[in-house]
Symmetry: C2
Subunit: 420 residues, 2 copies
């Protein structure tokens, strides 16, 4: 079927023509559609049966232009393919942590998926100090499974290259190359920061050593094709409740450095941690919640590293480092050391990428609600200074990092300098 | 035209049907074809006019199976596409250093190219101590231009990814992943070494630290997609005379670590250097030629690094590290330091990859004629021990390398221990 923009009426008719949906949305039922989301890049519809409320799905359709600007700003509709294909891989590798994809129709740029109506986006509840006791366990399992099973450690050499070819995603990668690693650190008209940290913006932009390190991290982003990344795994791409965690919206998916996804999660928790200096005036409440966040970070990394290593030992079936290569007197220890070193490198990448992301959120085009919702701009500036100082340290000191506890200690050291 | 194996008769008829060849091989002339090469993977024909000897081309046709084994060993014919497309890029970027591609017909797995009948393959003349005074200048220009202009430093983000996608080359890369980085260092039936260095083979195979480093280098080979590589640039892939140098046979081409090609050239010169301990009994003759080889190595690296940096400064038009990013007080120095660091990393990769290739030539499936042509197996063993010791040092000490002179000094140190 040729591409045609759907609306709340035509979407219901359209879904009835899709054989793959016969079970989820029986054709003899009646359905209602409502549009949600900002509808800027994608149309997003909730479809629900008028008689059986459990019969519900989300329909996402990519638009061929940026709606807020109009047809003059064309966009590739390929992003729905990347998103859907990544979700289908998650459905395979980590089914409990991703919405089910029921159907896709790339001529129409449409994907039909599970309606997560029992879950909420993670960002706002973190600002209101909500706790998700299973989150660290869940997200570390998601990360370990997806990153391991899409890497050369698990996939054959050929399958890995096929995966890489499938997720070239040049347009969205270019956006991140520019807007995460380059433009926030130079003059660029879209940059946007609190005028009260103007001195810091100038300082960062003219810090030659820092910019060398950020450019090295960009090289990793561009070249280090370790595993299939979500590549935009901030707390706005996570839907959850006390019992379940679901990763959504992987339209930036490509094969890149593993640490990128881990850093995105951890860095968003750090931003949230920082925001509570302003958001939470009650010291006991604040400290308790901040401790919870740092423990969560610790559990995420340590959980990830443990599970990843377990998977590697149990399912080392890729061509990169076969068991037979380590089959010699002392080989077991050598292999263990190799794995440890590998994971330490991932952690150092987490520090570098996490630090870069902290900085870009302060100076670049994209702000983050945890911080931008701090109304007093002086308070916000103090929080932002903390984030910038910490980000710089994570970048510059990353090569000396061998445990997540060191990154947490650095965070507490910088926090101790704050006066609120 | 559907695939059909050509022979010396049908190839002439076939070429007359190709419009692209009308100028090189006018149809009203008469031609003779002869088959050259081992014809194991490819049929290779020389076509020459009976009346005008300058009317001559090489025709290469990929076979769909390994001829020595027969049709039971199928091979992808895609390699002719990789080879021809890489040569066409060389024709564009470094025309003086590559044979002209006149025509290609991928349905027939055929490429038609310049007959380099004034040039010889480099390997054997190096064993008979021939000198090529322009070689270092030529090959360093070739390497600097091709590696720079197919990297993210010159190409846009999108063009680089398109290049990467075009040269996925999964089958031939898998061969090198196995036969360069893995199998020579473990038990594998195809391994082949001089029984007199059996102790060394065992020692290397059970050296946990060394194998960790080689596995890290393999990760680079697999992931570090810096630039378009020839990926098999030994002295058998170079045709030359005193005045000209031509790079041929890039069927392994893919986007990988720049150092791989540089290391291949340098390492082959080191193997040749080593071979003269046995081949050249006259000490003065030997020393003089070995000095020439080490100077050539020095000139290749220093020439490459200088030209690469000049190109980077003059044509920094890629998205990786734009000039505007370095536009600040002190930015010029910071950018210079960044480039220096980048090239130092390439040199360290050269040491690691060069060392690995030295070892694999001693223990793996593929020997090298410079060494295998040493008839006395005791002498050969001495030379091989030197190569293995040196290879290990290049790998293990690579992180301390900041100049080619250090690698040359290491080579001389190991050579001084040899008794001939």
């Amino acid at each position: 079927m040729a591409y045609k923009e759907l609306d709340t009426k035509s979407v219901v008719e359209y879904l009835k023509t899709r054989p793959a949906l016969a079970e989820v949305l029986p054709v003899n039922d009646e359905y209602e559609a409502s549009e949600i989301g900002d509808g800027n890049l994608n149309m997003v519809f909730i479809i629900q049966s008028k008689t059986v409320p459990e019969r519900t799905v989300i329909v996402k359709q990519a638009l061929p232009y940026l709606r807020v600007v109009g047809e003059s700003w064309p966009l590739t509709r390929d992003r729905i393919i990347y998103e859907t294909e990544a979700l289908k891989i998650y459905n395979e590798i980590a089914p409990e942590f991703s919405p089910i994809v029921y159907d896709n129709d790339y001529d129409m740029s449409v994907a039909v998926m599970e309606n997560l109506n029992q879950h909420e986006i993670m960002r706002k509840p973190l600002v209101s100090r909500e706790r998700f006791p299973k989150f660290a366990e869940h997200i570390s399992s998601f990360l370990a499974n997806v990153l391991f099973k899409t890497s050369d450690l698990y996939l054959s050499s050929k399958d890995k290259k096929a995966l890489q070819e499938k997720f070239m995603n040049p347009e969205l990668r270019k956006l991140q190359e520019d807007f995460v690693y380059t433009n926030p650190f130079m003059e660029a008209e879209e940059n946007n920061w609190n005028p009260l940290i103007d001195d810091l913006a100038k300082d960062v932009r003219s810090d030659g050593k820092l910019k060398q390190e950020i450019n090295k991290l960009k090289i990793d982003y561009v070249l280090k094709a370790q595993a299939l990344l979500h590549a935009d795994l901030h707390t706005g791409s996570i839907m959850l409740n006390k019992e379940e965690t679901k990763v959504i919206d992987p339209e930036f998916a490509f094969v890149g450095p593993m640490a990128y996804d881990i850093a995105a999660v951890i860095q968003n928790l750090i931003l949230n941690y920082a925001s509570h200096f302003a958001h939470t005036k009650d010291t006991a409440q604040r400290e308790s919640y901040q401790d919870y966040l740092l423990e969560t970070i610790q559990d995420i990394w340590n959980g990830f590293a443990f599970k990843f290593d377990q998977l590697w030992q149990a399912e080392n079936q890729g061509d990169l480092s076969p068991n037979s290569y380590w089959d010699f007197e002392g080989g077991e220890e050598a292999f263990a050391e190799f794995r440890k070193d590998y994971l330490q490198n991932v952690l150092q990448d987490v520090a570098g990428i996490g630090g870069t992301k902290m900085l870009r959120r302060m100076f670049g085009i994209v702000t983050v609600w945890d911080i931008s919702s701090i109304e007093d701009e002086h308070e916000r500036a103090k929080v932002e200074r903390f984030i910038v100082n910490l980000g710089r340290r994570w970048i510059m000191e990353r090569k000396s990092i061998s445990s997540i506890e060191q990154l947490i200690a650095m965070t507490k050291e910088e926090a101790a300098k704050l006066e609120f």
